[in-house]
């Protein structure tokens, strides 16, 4: 199947507050997707719904074609690392690997041991005594040893030093390259995400704001620099995502629907980081694919 994760009008409520609302997306396989958004935007909620730790209050979610939750088969094809990489702290690495073997149908203990060995993490030390980066690596190893088709990571490198972060991402990329796993990872570290992710999901206050392949998004957005103009209608620009003005100059980040021919503007490409930051700053604009792509009949977003 070609969709690793599919959500239709997915929603989750805590009391009267909707942590996630009206979420519809279809993540293709073999992608590395970034899940971005401010704290409390619903990223963890989405991941927990996808892995069956939470049950939807509205809509539905399907993962690898099945419904997460009570399906053992499905669970053993999904690798998940929750925030702060929870582990049984008084277990040693070797014991955690044994545990995985007993709880999972598909388990590659050899791979796990090899990886930890390569990373220099001793197998006979209690994981509570390891550093933050090492714990994250152990948690990732346990998820990878399931040989999953889909990997869900909730802020896996938060609070970890830059070198450990780099090693984590290297390990992740190597594994994805070898096994073709689909990955969905949430993170605040936009710099890391740009080199690693080819699909973007941006959430704000429980709603989807931006969705789509990174290449398409970057191609469809440009930064325009030109003389100060307050009335911002530019031919070729469908929406203005962010505008900043000095007394002489205007800088616009726009979503295009054609070529920008107006010679008054200098056109620049935009980086993923700048794109994300601009959308985060203004929750009222969105960049979502049209209804045709998702097979729902929601109204057209943004332009």
């Amino acid at each position: 199947m070609s969709t690793a994760l599919e959500a239709n009008g997915l929603g989750k409520r805590y009391g009267r507050h909707w942590a996630l609302r009206d979420c519809s997306l279809a993540l293709p396989t073999s992608r590395i997707a970034a899940l971005v958004g401010p704290n409390g935007a619903g990223k963890s909620t989405l991941l927990h719904l996808a892995v069956g730790l939470l049950r939807p209050d509205a809509g539905s979610v399907r993962v690898l074609g099945g419904i997460p939750g009570s399906d053992r088969e499905l669970l053993s094809r999904i690798g998940f690392v929750a925030q702060d990489a929870p582990l049984y702290t008084d277990f040693t690495g070797a014991e955690l690997i044994t545990m995985g073997g007993k709880l999972n149908r598909r388990w590659d203990a050899e791979l796990a041991r090899e990886r930890l060995g390569q990373l220099g993490i001793p197998l006979d030390r209690r994981v509570g005594k390891l550093s933050g980066g090492q714990k994250a690596q152990v948690a990732l190893t346990l998820a990878l040893a399931k040989r999953p088709d889909l990997l869900l990571l909730d802020e896996p490198v938060a609070g970890i030093d830059p070198l450990a972060r780099r090693e984590f991402l290297q390990a992740l990329m190597g594994s994805v390259a070898e096994h073709g796993t689909t990955v969905l990872l949430s993170s605040h570290l936009l710099g890391d995400l740009e080199r690693v992710c080819d699909y973007l999901i941006l959430l704000q206050t429980g709603h989807l704001q931006v969705l789509g392949p990174v290449d398409d998004l970057l191609a469809a957005h440009k930064v325009l620099v030109g003389p100060r103009r307050d009335a911002v209608r530019v031919a070729g620009a469908a929406t203005v995502v962010r505008a900043s003005h000095t007394d002489k100059q205007s800088t616009l980040l726009v979503r295009t629907n054609g070529e920008i021919h107006d010679p008054a503007w200098t056109v620049h490409d935009v980086s993923l980081e700048d794109l994300v930051l601009a959308y985060l700053a203004d929750p009222s604009v969105g960049a979502l694919p049209g209804p045709a792509r998702l097979g729902t009949d929601r109204g057209v977003q943004a332009p």
Binding site: R55, S70, A82, L87, F91, K102, K146
Partner: protein
């Protein structure tokens, strides 16, 4: 299964070690108590008492033994043990608080449920195996412990004719095992509902005490009690060493007026001080019903425990 063992390995060893120490103490003191029971003639006397035809009555003049004398000799040395014995009553509650409540609550509190419930086992299976193993182990230990304590307490209880009374009853037979099972089940369920260890423990404490009190207050009425009347002035009286559970005692004179409310009067013939028609009334549960009552008490708590565990398994599947 391996996981449950490995996860609770340290706890299990601590509990077993603690119980072993307790057991050693009980064995040592119990042995000396049993020997004393024999030495003072208490044991023989109680045995003889049982085998006499009309042991329900005691009449020293006629030679029917009431074993008062050996009992007093025994108590002179060992009555001090009654107080620490009370502490043993708390053991089931401790089991519920420290073994039951954290079982699920700690898992959720520390976030490891996000690790273990996303592996390849369903929550239902995880819960069944975990609860089953833990409860099974606790059940075995508590039955063994209950047997040991029963053996230990029996001479003490019989010497004081207190076997059927509150507290002594709670320490003997299957009742402690039932309490322990109930406490642990309660703890586990509280853990699934409150998901943090301390609140779960608090709730377990309150609920356990409440339930025990409720059942204990109902205990006199498990079966309709019997009533007996006997004259105040007589030479034979119901044998006080029998360990009947006397619920109410009153003495009335021949007109029906209460002359000793809440108490009874034994006055050997001739008895000048009292109206010859005065009589005592006992409302009691006979000693023969002891084991029946034990079964009822244990049974109630075991059934409750089973229900609570079932609820707990169902709750686990719905935790967010």
């Amino acid at each position: 299964m391996w996981l449950t063992w490995r996860q609770h390995r340290r706890q299990a060893l601590l509990v077993v070690a603690g119980l072993a120490v307790l057991a050693a103490f009980l064995l040592l003191t119990g042995r000396s108590m049993h020997r004393a029971s024999v030495d003072t003639g208490l044991a023989r006397c109680l045995g003889a008492m049982r085998s006499t035809v009309d042991y329900r009555l005691s009449d020293p003049a006629v030679g029917l033994p009431d074993c008062n004398e050996p009992a007093e000799r025994f108590n002179a040395e060992y009555s001090g043990y009654l107080t620490p014995a009370i502490l043993l009553v708390f053991l089931p509650l401790l089991a519920g608080l420290f073994l039951g409540a954290p079982l699920v609550a700690r898992e959720v509190q520390q976030g490891t449920h996000r690790l273990v419930w996303t592996q390849g086992v369903t929550r239902r299976r995880w819960a069944l195996v975990k609860f089953g193993l833990v409860v099974g182990a606790i059940l075995t230990l508590s039955v063994a412990y209950a047997l040991l304590v029963t053996w230990w307490v029996t001479p003490l209880a019989l010497a004081n004719a207190a076997r059927f009374e509150y507290l002594a009853f709670d320490l003997q037979g299957g009742a402690p095992a039932g309490y322990t099972l109930f406490a642990v089940a309660l703890g586990i369920l509280a853990g699934t509902l409150w998901r943090k260890v301390l609140p779960a423990m608090a709730v377990t404490l309150v609920a356990f005490v409440g339930a025990r009190l409720a059942v204990a207050l109902a205990r006199p009425h498990f079966l309709p009690p019997l009533e007996r009347r006997f004259p105040v002035a007589a030479n034979t009286f119901p044998n006080p060493m029998l360990s009947d559970w006397i619920l109410e005692r009153n003495a009335y004179d021949s007109t029906g007026r209460a002359i000793a409310p809440g108490g009874d009067i034994f006055c050997a013939l001739p008895c000048p001080g009292y109206d010859p028609g005065s009589y005592n009334v006992h409302v009691y549960q006979p000693a023969e019903r002891f084991w029946l009552f034990q079964s009822i008490e244990a049974g109630v708590f075991v059934v409750l425990a089973a229900l609570l565990l079932l609820l707990a398994v169902r709750r686990v599947r719905r935790i967010s």
